[in-house]
Structure formats: structure tokens, C-alpha cells
């Protein structure tokens, strides 16, 4: 039996800044995971990843990450992805230090 599909988001790092970004339903890249499109099936996930790969002028290393539906949008399900939404734990640098512009 195939493994059940777990919901995904498309994520990458921005080419110029290097910071983590997530792909929204309208095809933009947002620094806020909650703005991302939560993908519910494997076929769409594959298609969105291909679309992201075509945006090499904007982002680097796009991949599919597990996420779960939350009250305000997708939330991380793994600690690595949670860290990517915040920044390092030893300094208040990265996203945790920057007020998120809402896409």
C-alpha cells in the first residue's frame, strides 16, 4: 500500500538574501510560512516543485517540506522547518528579529 500523502509546502532560500521563503498559492515567495500554499496531494506537489524549479532567478534549492494546517495557515511539523521560520537559537537574528511583512 502506498504511504498516505502528508501535506506539503514548497520552500527554498532566496537567491540574493539567502533567507528561507515559502511559495504562496499565487506563486509568490513569502518569508512567512503561514502564507504558503498547503498542498494536499502528490500530483500537485510535484507540479508546484517543477514550477518552483523554474524560478532559479529568485530562489535556490526548492524542496517539499511537511507542514500541517494551523489556525493562521500552514505550520511546521518538524523542528528543522520550525527553526527555518525563526532563525538561530543563540542570537535574536534572522526572521525572529524582523517583523514579518505580510504577503
Amino acid at each position: 500500500m502506498p504511504r498516505p500523502f502528508t501535506p506539503k509546502v514548497v520552500t527554498a532560500n532566496r537567491l540574493l538574501e539567502g533567507d528561507a521563503v515559502w511559495r504562496t498559492a499565487s506563486g509568490d515567495w513569502s518569508p512567512d510560512l503561514a502564507q504558503a500554499e498547503l498542498i494536499a496531494d502528490a500530483a500537485t506537489a510535484e507540479l508546484r516543485l517543477l514550477e518552483a524549479a523554474a524560478e532559479a532567478h529568485l530562489v535556490v534549492g526548492a524542496y517539499l517540506a511537511d507542514a500541517a494546517a494551523g489556525a493562521d495557515g500552514p505550520e511546521p511539523t518538524h523542528f528543522r522547518e520550525a527553526f527555518r521560520t525563526r532563525g538561530p537559537s543563540n542570537y535574536a537574528h534572522g526572521k525572529q528579529a524582523e517583523p514579518q511583512e505580510k504577503a
Binding site: L16, G18, V60, R80, F83, P88, S89
Partner: protein, 554 residues
Amino acid sequence: MYHYNDFDDAFVRERVSQFRAQVERRISGALTEEEFKPLRLMNGLYLQLHAYMLRVAIPYGTLDSRKMRQLAYIAERWDKGYGHFTTRQNIQFNWPRLRDVPDILEALADVEMHAIQTSGNTIRNVTADHFAGAAADEIADPRPVAELLRQWSTDHPQFQFLPRKFKIAVSGSRNDRAVTRAHDIGLEIVERDGAIGYRVIVGGGLGRTPMIGKVLREFLPQEDLLAYVEAVVSTWNLLGRRDNKFKSRIKITVHEHGIEDISRLVEAEFAQTRPGFAGADRAMLARIEAAFAPPAFVAKSPAPHAAARASDPVYRAWADTNLTAHRQPDHAIVTVSLKAHGATPGDASADQMRLLADLAERYAYDELRISHEQNVILPHVARADLPAIHAALTQAGLATANVGLVSDIIACPGMDYCSLATARSIPIAQQIATRFEELKVEHDVGPLKIKISGCINACGHHHVGHIGILGLDRAGVENYQVTLGGDHTETAAIGERAGPGFSADEIIPAIERLVLGYLDLREGRDETFLQAYRRLGPAPFKALLYPEARSDAA
């Protein structure tokens, strides 16, 4: 201090302008990421979890005040005001933007620095004992040889596409502070009948398959060095496995073929390479050695040091912990701890870098070193000047008296920065240091090396820590595995896994039980943790880590 010649300078500048053009072509879309990635890695530029990271080589860990000030300037102008010194005697900047990197490389070239061959399947930054040229126990300064190897390997046409990366370390003393036995090639300067030569150790390495290097040649005459090293690298270049990157390092080649076979092949290759070197490398070494001539040491009465030591217990604790014997009895080697309790191991702010540069210029013949243990060294200081240095360091939060103790922890960047990490390492180091500071026992505990890596790649050297901690991902939760009995010195050993891993909450109390428990196990203050472990074996230490298991068995 060794200075670039015109050729070096032109070469580095040329690389910077090439990279500037490559960055522009990447941004314009003329280069794909697949094309650009190997180019940026060749220039030390990685993409991490939250940003790019630039890794800058500090050959054999040696800096002067001008270079250190430039690092401070780069940290402030293009990063977030600090840099991270690593176990590979590099500095890493964690927040550069892609567009700024060519300017940063230009600023580095201005002070004869670069980020070339800090990555890729090349011969990497050659590392050396951080007390080189200063230590009382030294046979010869290892840096001229490290520099000779750097010049020979930089852009060596045969060695740009090796099966994998290749790391060389050089020690000039019987007391191995350069971890030579965990490098692809470790060179130990030795003396035989008054002649200088090298003990050549091959096939050490950490990572997924940790191995202690084996002796390939007990005594290699000085004049044969480059020909012999070239023979070793060539032999491996042919034999080394390119089909599987986990089996490509020379340690696996040595393991699979056996040291006798490798030795035979290397000697045969050496017979071929040797005539090609006809002495030109010796002339080069002589020139380089002149550039590493020791400074003209100024004789001063050490009385101020003795007086401060007698009257000030804070000074005494620092002096007894952070100083090492210098070849000049009226001088000392100062290790400046970048491990303030609760701070990130190896990080220095731009202000701290500038203070260190000032101190080096004023008191230390303008020399600084970076140790693989992520500390900064003032290698030559008149004992008379130590109290003034201690006072200045105290002002800057750099006078922590913990070198070689529990809180002098090596930690890799782990999942706070590194995209390969399986768990964080920095917070574990911070919490252990903070806890032992609360307990006020670290001076009583004495010499102890805790080393932490955030994944199996072992950048934090956990395998050779007396206590090693490896961060893993166990079913989506950070989990920490403990190894015991590792040793990074001339008596090198790979630590043994103690048992099941600990959660992030459990690991600090577990380390506390282990270290405090050792105090009851040792025969006296003179028996270090490692000695006690070697005498008693793992059982009593495992019992400290896993008290439940013991009560179950009872």
C-alpha cells in the same frame, strides 16, 4: 609573518574578479544554480538554513593585527557584527548577502586573505599547531611546512578534482595539538640523530566512519616531503573510490587496501615523483622559513606577573588555566577563551576582534593564532605584560579562565545554522557551560574535553572528545548520543558509544552526573577524566549516565 608575493596577490585578485563576474551572471540568469554552486563553493560560499555563509581560510591559524581588524570590519560592514572561529582554523561569516560577497573577498585580498579551497574536492586549508613557533616543547615551527604545502597544493592541476576533500595537519611537537591523527595526512616533525624529518600519518578522519591515522613512514627526510606527499595524494587519486562518496576518503582506501599495500604503492609512486622535485622545493622552504623567523624577544622582568598572581585570585585562576610555557622562560603563550559561560563557542564580536588586534600589536609582536579548539592565542607575550593584558581582556568579556576545562567546549554550528545538521549543538554547549559555572566545580574537575557535533559529519570532533556528544534526529525529535574516552592528541582514540541517546532536556543532567561522578571515581586530583576512564573502563561511567539501568540490573 609570511607575505604574499606578487604572484599570490595577482592570483587572489584574479579569482575575486572571476567570482564577481560569476555572481553577476548568476543574478542575471546566465548561470544556473547547478553551474554556479561549484563555483561558489570553490570560493567558500555555502547556503545555510537562514542565509549564505562565507568560510575564510586562516592558513595555519596565523593572523596579525591588520588581518584581524579587517575581519572585524567585514563582520560589521557586511555581516551582523561577529564572526565564528571554527575547528578548521577558519572564520565563518553567517549572514553575507550574495551581492556583497565579491566585495568581501576583495576586502580579504587587501589583507592577503581569501576563501579559496575552503571547500570542494581539493586539498584544504593546511592546519598547524596553534602554539607554533612559541611552545617550549616544540622541535621546529610547523608553519613553514604548512605554507610550503599550501603553495604546492593551491591550484595544483592534478589535484583540483580529487575523489574527495583532503586535509593535512602539521605538528611541530611531540604533544600533538593539531589533531594530526584525524587528518587525511598528519605530519609530525621529528628529530633523528640531529636531523629534522617527518613522521607521516595517513588515513585518519572523523565523520561517518571515524578512523585514527596510521603511520606510513616513521621518518621521512625533510628534503623528500613534497615528493612524498604528492606520491600519497596521487596514489589515493587513482585508488580512491569515486563511486560512493561515503567511501572516497583516504581513510577508507587505507582501510580497504591495508597500510602495507598502500605503503608499497606510495613508495613506488614516490620513486617516480622524487626526481621531479630536484631541490627547488628545498630552496622554497628555506625562503619561507626566513619569513617565519621568531620575533626579537624583548627581555623583561616577570615580576609584575608574579606579584599579580600572588595578590589577585581572579588573575591567578586565569594565569594558571590560560597560560602555556613559552620557549623563552620570561614569556608566555596566552590562550584567550572564546567560551565565556553561556556564549556561543568560537564567536567573537567585531569589538572583541579589534581589542585582540590591539593587544597583539601592543604586547604580542603583532601575532595572533586561532586554535582548532575555537580560541584565540597571543603566542608571544612577555610575562611582565600579562597583568595589563588580563585587565584589558576582562573589560571585553574575554578573560574567562576555563581553557581546557569542562566549559571550553568545541561545538559545530549545528542546526542553528548548518543545513546538514540533524540537531542543534550550540545550545547544548551553552547550557553545559552555564550549569558548570553554577556548580563552581570546573577547576576542581580539571582537564576535560567535551566536543559536540550536530550530525554525523563530526565537524565538532565529537569522536575525539573525552566526552563526545552527537546530535541526531530520532523520529522528529532532537536526540543526543554520548561517546566516552575519545582523545585528539598523540595518544589519539575514537570514543565509544555509551548507550542510548538523551533528549535535549536529559542531556545536561546526564553530563552533570557523569562529570560529578568522575570526581568520586578518580584516585586523586592528578588523575584526569580520561586517565580514570582508561583505568576503569566504560562500566562505571555508563552507570553514571544510566542509573536506571544499574538499578534494574541490581
